[in-house]
Every structure is written in structure tokens, then in C-alpha cells.
Symmetry: C2
Subunit: 225 residues, 2 copies
């Protein structure tokens, strides 16, 4: 069977888990603590980041590295249900949004809130910096307003069907939601969109994640909220 | 005709320029100074980043945003010459490397060297910080060794044919090469790989770029070095 190296509160790993489940493809989950710098893992991905999907023996290449490459790979080997719209410009829009979450949102929200509240705690990096948390929250508020605007106009983030944009977005936001950071009351269309994804069976295992020492926010696993 | 909003020393814009030229597709080039925060440009890309390709009138969607989405878009509408290998795992490998340059290399090299030596100068951000430049150089050296290792084993970065990995890599490295940063003597296979791309007609216009106030390194436009 395939093996997915992941970490439970890594937004990139979460994209891989949701995507595999959406495509109905099973994988053995192995949790990787990338901060340990394990040599065997670095030989799978020299960048030292999750997710990495190790394919079954007998394939010419043995592993698929990174959320962006992995979601495209799954779409190519298993087109149903589709992760991308049909038209080339529409597919570009879905890829734009996935990239936006992976680079813009990651740099301006995760690098503040996930870093301060989770990564520092786990790696012994000292206490959270309140100024950094405030700054991350300002960015989150602004980016959530943008997500809400897209969801309101389109139903899904890149059009009228679910796509890699939604998987990427929900995976990133779910990590913040674990920490109780998004103020969903301020952004009803974004809340409705997130509830829609959260209620999918592909999200089940994410909602059961618990991080030792950091309890999930009250509403994290509640699909009604 | 299509219009490409770009900035000459932006590694992402450069991917777009090389990719369009490789596919034999013309576009009007318009230089965008993203730091000005021009409203009309922000309405094309709220993330405020180049490149943005504005399509000819009459298309349903009017613009293609970001290097990753744009290169995939070009590959879909104009498959020849191919930017991706045939097999799904091999395509994943090309996408892994493109993503590696856009996120890892960008965060650990560009964010130090391009930021300190170019962005600060252009936006009036004060003098370069020597410690940051030293750190960026350490990262560049390590990453260049990795690029060299791949080039030596494979010929091209993601296999035996040119792909989006090479376009992304050469675009990023060309900005550093403008500043004379890579020590190519240390990495002969990487140099050979970069020379091979630099000599392609698709790279011509990049080699003619000059940044007001920052002269290119001596060997920047020399396809023999």
C-alpha cells in the first residue's frame, strides 16, 4: 500500500490527506516530525518537508513530494472526481488560488500564528511573541475577507465546483481553526464554504486530530459550526 | 495581443517570459512596479504580485495569474514543445522542483540576496544588511550544490528533458546571476546546465535586461560563461 508521510497540523500534509480521501485512494499514514531531521526522510525529500507519498513498489519513481505536485498527480492518475475545472483559464484560476494559500497565506498567516502557537511549543522555541500573533491575526482577518468574497460570488473558491483551491484553502484554514483563530461570525460566506467542506467524509480524519499539549478549539470538530 | 505584466528582475515574471518564448507565443510586455500598489493592477491580482498575463478580449476569464498557473496554462493550450514529461510520477517530479524554487529557494535565497541588494535599493528600504547577505550566500551555496547534483545525474533538473523545473530554476538563478552571486566554478554541472538554458533564444531578452542603478555582473549576458 502507499505510505503518506505527514504531520497532523501541517497545512500541506492536510491537503494530501483530504485529496487522497476525495479520490477514494487509501494510504498508510506515518507521522513525520520534520524538525528531527531524520536522514531516511531527508533522502525522500531533501527539503525536509511533508507531505511525501511513497508509492507501491514496482513504480519507476518511488515518491511524490509536496502538496502541489501530489494533488496534480492524483488528478492525473484518478480523474474522478475532478479536482480541476475543464477550461484552461478556469484551471489556471484554481491553481492561482492554491498557490495563493501555499505562498501568500502561508507567509502572512501561518508563519505568524502556526509558528508562534504551535511550532515554537513543539520545538522548544520559547514563548509565543504577542506582537507576532497580533500581526498574524490582522493578516488572517484580511485574507479571510478575501476568501469570503470569493465564496460568496462563486460558491466554491475558484468557480462553481470544488477544486484544488478549496482543498488547499480548507487545509490551511483548518489548522487555524484548530487554534480557534478564524472569527467566522465576521465572514458568513466563508463560514458556509468551510462548513460545506468540513462536513465531507474526506475531512473526518482531520477533525479527529489532537495535538498533545495543545487542545483543539471548542468548535473545531463540530461540523455544524 | 496578450499582455504580460512583469518586472524585469522578478524570478516569477522571468519564468513567464521564458515560457511564452519557448512556446513561441508573443505577448506585449508591460513593466509593473508592484511596490507602487497601483489599483488597476491589484484588480488583476489582489496579491499584488507579477506575473499576470492578460488574455485577448473575448475569453471568458481575462487573466492568468502567477508563474505556476501560467506555465501549466501554456502547457495545456500549446503542448508543443512539452514543458512536462509524459508519466504522472515524472510530471510530479518536475512540479516538485518548480515548487522547490518558488518556495524554498525563494525564502532562503531571494528573500536575503534579492531583498537586500535590489528591493531595498528600489523601494528606499535603507542600506543592505551584511549579515543577511552572508546568510543568503550560505543558503545559495548549499542550494546550488543540490541543483548541481541533480543536473549531473539527469542532464536537466527533473529528468532527461527540459521541463518547468528548468524554467523555474533558471529564472530564479538568473536574478542572482545578474548580481554576480553564484560561484559557478564550484559547481561545474550546474554551470553547464545554466549555460545550456542561457544559450536558448527564449533567454535572449532576459540577458538584455538592465536595472537602472544596478549594473549586471560582468558575465551575466555572456552565454559562454
Amino acid at each position: 500500500m502507499r505510505t503518506l508521510y505527514h504531520w497532523r497540523l501541517d497545512p500541506f500534509s492536510r491537503q494530501a490527506r483530504v485529496a487522497l480521501a476525495e479520490k477514494g485512494m487509501r494510504a498508510r499514514l506515518v507521522e513525520e516530525h520534520v524538525w528531527d531531521g531524520r536522514q531516511d526522510f531527508l533522502s525522500l525529500n531533501p527539503a525536509g518537508a511533508t507531505p511525501v507519498l511513497v508509492l507501491e513498489p514496482g513504480q519507476r519513481r518511488t515518491s511524490i513530494v509536496g502538496a502541489r505536485a501530489l494533488l496534480e498527480y492524483l488528478e492525473e492518475i484518478q480523474p474522478d472526481p475532478p479536482f480541476l475545472p475543464r477550461g484552461a483559464p478556469e484551471r489556471a484560476e484554481a491553481r492561482r488560488m492554491a498557490d495563493w494559500f501555499d505562498r501568500k497565506f502561508d507567509a502572512e498567516v501561518n508563519a505568524y500564528l502556526l509558528f508562534e502557537k504551535v511550532e515554537k511549543k513543539i520545538t522548544g522555541g520559547g514563548p509565543p511573541d504577542p506582537a507576532a500573533i497580533r500581526e498574524g491575526r490582522v493578516h488572517l482577518k484580511r485574507h479571510l475577507a478575501y476568501v469570503s468574497q470569493l465564496a460568496e460570488g462563486r460558491g466554491w473558491l475558484a468557480g462553481d465546483k470544488m477544486s484544488i483551491a478549496d482543498i488547499a484553502g480548507a487545509a490551511h484554514l483548518s489548522c487555524l481553526d484548530y487554534l480557534g483563530e478564524p472569527d467566522w461570525d465576521e465572514v458568513p460566506p466563508a463560514r458556509e464554504w468551510y462548513q460545506k467542506i468540513k462536513a465531507r467524509p474526506s475531512f473526518d480524519s482531520l477533525l479527529q486530530d489532537v495535538l498533545p499539549g495543545i487542545a483543539p478549539a471548542r468548535a473545531y470538530a463540530d461540523v455544524e459550526i
